[in-house]
Amino acid sequence: MQWTLGKRLVSEDEIIKDQGLFLDYDEIARKGSMTAEEKNISKWYGIYTSRQPGNHMARIVIPGGVLTSSQARRIAKVAEDYAQGKLAITTRQCVQLHWLKIPSLADMVRSLAEDSISTFHGCGDVTRNVAGCPLAETCQFRRFNVLPHVKETARLLTEARDLDNLPRKFKITFSGCGAGCAQPFINCIGIVAVQRKTPLGDDEFGFKVMIGGGMGWAPFIGQELFSFVPPEKMARVNRAIAQLFRDYGERRDRSFARLKFVVHRRGIEECRRIVLKFLQDEGVDVDDLETEDFEETGVDYPDRPLLEQNPVGTDGKVTVRAMVPKGELTHLAFKRMAEISEIYGNKRVYLTNRQNIEIHGVKPGKVDEASAEIRQIGFDTDGFFGLRDIVPCVGTTYCPKAVTETRSLYDLLMPVVSQSKYREIWDKALINITGCPNSCSPYRIADIGFRGMRIRETVGSTEAYEMRIGGKHDRLGSKLGEFKKEDCAPALERILDTFLDLRRGDETLADCAERLGL
């Protein structure tokens, strides 16, 4: 070991990564187990070890959360064949399969590939699934359709072998307007479509780019890198930002190895200079990347377009939403959703970052019929967007990092928020529950957020949650207190009652808390 000491400037993970990022799951199946190094590299293939020994989790990459119905059917089949028939929707619009066994990993990957979907780069130190507004294509508030850009960025960065080894994960999201349904302020890159008038009076479209946001143990709100980027250059700009992260990110200490720390340490100006340099080096003309503020035009958007029930799209067709409790469903339900999209919708299944499923393109006259079909599966279709759509992470049910069983808090809170007295504020607050400070369910940007912890007792300790209120997509909530699990429901009730009393007009809980100075 002596000889390595002089040059040791990187974490152990970096040494493993340097040894190569290739895995053969057939060979692993024959061998029957993975070494520690293989488990680490396996993340690049979207496969993680689970809390339960011998089981694995696979995360299927779905750019923008849009699946064709045949892809959805394929996922349902894979879940049935290899994952005990269960699947889960994530807050970044992926699908996770738990309960995978080592011998079936290779077959699972092959089966998915038949419908052009994969788990590749589902986890690991790479660009993760590129997220976007689920309503991107037809939302009436959107500036323009960002879905093609989601797919272009996903393709460019996933195919770039020089971006395979980033310091850590790298997350990109696209929003169609400033409402921030896709949470642009808490991603490494948050991209928001903007619209303005040229001096000649024409409409001009582009993107505003924020970088350096993030949750986790050190939350940051993203800072504006460019105020206007022409849409055709967006993917190249994303690539340059990834290069910035690759070359300037922390590689010694993984807890600081995120783009948010690069931005915080170097400052946004320095980061912009480096990004421009990378772009110029690759022959991209950067003259039309702007940093000056300008007056935005375009239709006004509400605070939370996602909370609207059965929104009508720009094509005159309706979106029907299905609330998937805890984001968990069976392969039968998922397959049925694919069928419903084939019968009533545009033959696509849309996954949202609130772990729900949408069917787009339903003719107005068929909405009731489609909704009834969805309710038949057991999913709610109306009156749930908001308060009752609690988003928990998987918690100790599967996750090795989690501290608490978030699903059981979900069960405790659900009766509280379902009370009829809260009917009028059902769409005024969002609740997120996360099992650890990693904030897979981003609790700091929800109106009400719970984060798992343990509180010590005289001897031993018990599950508890830190409670925050007042977060929204560009603002972090404030801490209210720490409560043992059984005290969370009464505390939530107090907060909701207070909100009922004090709210003004249409304001959300976050706005109310902000107005009252919290």
Binding site: L5, F256, S461, F483, T498, L516
Partner: protein, 627 residues
């Protein structure tokens, strides 16, 4: 109402809920979080955490000086040593190293302790500036102290008394200062320039020295009149003797210390071809043997033998295994379990000594060494031209004035007369003498000034380095290189045998140190039991614990491990296992883990009170890992 958190209706609603929990206390390992701690808890935690410093009689700040060496600053390391143990160049060569026996590397691992002693020498070897006198603590007091005896204890006491502001005069019987350091230790183990430089740094602080001044009753009388206090530190120089039947008069047996004195003063001539037997197993016996081997030209293959005869086994000898190894190389026989019975002479000249074999008993004698008994019928005769008796020394108590005798500790029946060093407790090692010199200086100052003017405390500072101590886990498993030694043919009577660690060797040994003065601690009120620290822990250093057990001063003595999350009251860092890698701090998502530095310092009582005003108690400090 707006912008006032106390009156915020949401906070008020939560307050009205009236939730409060009964919790186990948040354990605190020091009396203050930051600042200066002077409670028993602070000292106990400190010494428990840093066993080498606890083991050092002079309480040398071992981790701090090793850290300075690891950071490439030998001058700083030397200064730390000079402050704590006065003769660091000397001790870096000849110390008895109780610290290394206590080093935490002995608890686990097989590569042995950090070479604490030799690192001290490296600091001395690689420093750029010669040793300088240390600054005084107080203004001159116009009090005068006489120190009788210029050995390690006397010199140390003189330096400290001078820093207290007193006038000091050293009376030395010999022509040079240094005591046993120059008279007893052979020059091939301790070059005289090293001693001279360090003695000079003491004398230069303004101490009057009277060499060649043996103190007799008359002089003592005068000293008693002229000085406010007298420190007697004349060592233990009366050789113990063993009467063997058959021994002729003088000339053929010689006390070990006398032999060493003559050898060091160049009075020993050529001993070529002689058979020498040294009786004894202490430092002196070994030094005599190695000196004889040189004087008798054994190292270049001359005839004759040099043999150590010791009544117990090698395990009980004062020499360390490395030195015993060197003796083997130098063709010195070590015969153990041997007891001299009688001598035989021919023509008035010693020719042989008869030894009888011993056997070890299981029970221990008072000194902690096993008892022995002779085995009858095992007598054997060994040829011998010169017999050296190195079986210890006793104190010459007659130097104290008539009617004065030693009482408790450093005191005597005369309130102005103090004793220190070997003269206080009998023949022992340099580091203990240094510590005794420091202690007696404190007592003399308190006696002269009527109050304690300096106090020890634990200084606790916050380290905002994201858990970086400069060491990684790989540093623990380095191969500890041995110190280069002089080749056998070049070992004449004076050339130093141990050459000191190379720069690379020094770095390896310095980075092996765990830097135990850093304390990683979890704030239990901020901990959420996510266990991520346990996940990255390099060894069994962080545990789930259901109960902690404290002693009366609040020091955690043991813990009860928990298996389940429900049983876990605390996530607990075991400082005894912690290798100060900082991984836990870096991974902690709630910044519950902090890194602090603990150092034992002393300062004037007034300064201490001033510092205590800035103390930060537990709970008042919130670590923000990322601002």
């Amino acid at each position: 109402m707006e912008n006032n958190n106390h009156l915020n209706p949401f906070l008020k609603a939560i307050e009205d809920l009236g939730v409060s929990y009964e919790m186990a206390p948040n354990p605190q390992e020091t009396s203050v979080f930051l600042g200066v701690g002077a409670e028993p808890l602070d000292f106990k935690t400190f010494l428990k955490d840093i066993p080498c410093q606890d083991a050092c009689p002079a309480k040398t700040n071992v981790p701090a000086y090793i850290e300075a060496i690891a950071q490439g600053d030998p001058d700083k390391a030397y200064l730390i040593n000079q402050e704590d143990n006065v003769f660091s160049g000397v001790l870096g060569r000849v110390c008895s190293r109780p610290c290394e026996d206590a080093c935490r590397h002995n608890w686990t691992g097989t590569a042995g302790p950090v070479h604490i002693c030799h690192l001290k020498r490296s600091a001395s070897d690689y420093k750029e500036n010669p040793p300088k006198p240390l600054p005084s603590w107080f203004e001159d007091t116009a009090k005068k102290v006489a120190v009788i005896g210029g050995g390690p204890a006397g010199l140390t006491a003189a330096r400290e008394l001078r820093r207290y502001g007193h006038g000091v005069t050293i009376f030395e019987r010999d022509s040079v200062l240094g005591g046993m350091m120059v008279q007893g230790i052979p020059v091939f183990r301790l070059p005289r320039e090293t001693v001279e430089a360090e003695v000079k740094a003491i004398v230069d602080s303004g101490i009057e020295v009277k060499c060649n001044t043996g103190v007799d009753a008359a002089l003592m009388e005068r000293i008693m009149q002229d000085y406010d206090a007298v420190l007697v530190a004349v060592g233990a120089v009366n050789p113990s003797n063993l009467k063997l039947p058959g021994l002729p008069g003088d000339g053929h047996t010689i006390p070990g210390l006398k032999f060493m004195y003559d050898y060091n003063m160049g009075l020993i001539g050529d001993m070529k071809g002689q058979n020498v037997i040294i009786v004894g197993g202490g430092f002196t016996a070994v030094d005599c043997a190695r000196s004889c081997a040189r004087a008798a030209k054994r190292l270049v293959g001359a005839e004759g033998t040099v043999t150590i005869m010791y009544r117990r086994t090698e395990a009980q000898m004062s020499a360390d295994p490395d030195e015993i190894n060197q003796m083997r190389l130098e063709e010195i026989e070590v015969e153990t379990l041997m007891n001299p019975l009688s001598a035989r002479t021919e023509n008035g000249k010693l020719v042989a000594v008869t030894f009888q074999r011993n056997a070890l008993d299981e029970e221990q004698s008072e000194g902690g060494k096993p008892r022995i008994h002779a085995i009858p019928g095992t007598e054997e005769e060994y040829p011998c031209d010169l017999l050296i008796m190195a079986i210890g020394q006793t104190r010459q108590l007659s130097i104290l004035p008539q009617g004065v005798s030693q009482t408790e500790g450093h005191h005597t029946t005369h309130e102005n007369i103090f004793v220190a060093g070997d003269f206080n407790y009998g023949s022992f090692d340099v580091i203990t003498a240094v510590n005794d010199g420091k202690e007696v200086a404190d007592k003399i100052d308190a006696h002269l000034m009527g109050r304690v003017r300096r106090k020890k405390h634990i200084a606790i500072s916050f380290m905002d380095t994201n858990g970086e101590t400069g060491r990684v886990r790989d540093h623990d498993i380095q191969f500890p290189v041995q110190m280069p030694k002089l080749p056998l043919p070049e070992r004449d009577g004076t050339a130093e045998v141990e050459l000191g660690h190379t720069a690379d060797g020094t770095h390896i040994h310095a980075t092996r140190c765990y830097f135990c003065h850093y304390k990683f601690e979890i704030d239990q009120d901020a901990c959420i039991h996510c266990d991520w620290c346990i996940g990255v822990a390099p060894r069994d250093c962080i545990n789930r614990v259901s109960r902690l057990f404290h002693d009366d001063d609040g020091v955690v003595t043991s813990s009860l491990e928990a298996n389940l999350a429900e049983e876990t009251t605390y996530i607990w860092i075991d400082s005894d296992e912690c290798v100060r890698c900082g991984k836990c701090l870096r991974v902690c998502p709630t910044a519950a883990i902090t890194m602090r530095k603990m150092e034992m310092c002393s300062c004037s009582t007034a300064e201490l009170e001033e510092k205590q005003k800035d103390n930060v108690p537990y709970g008042a400090f919130k670590y923000e890992k990322f601002k």
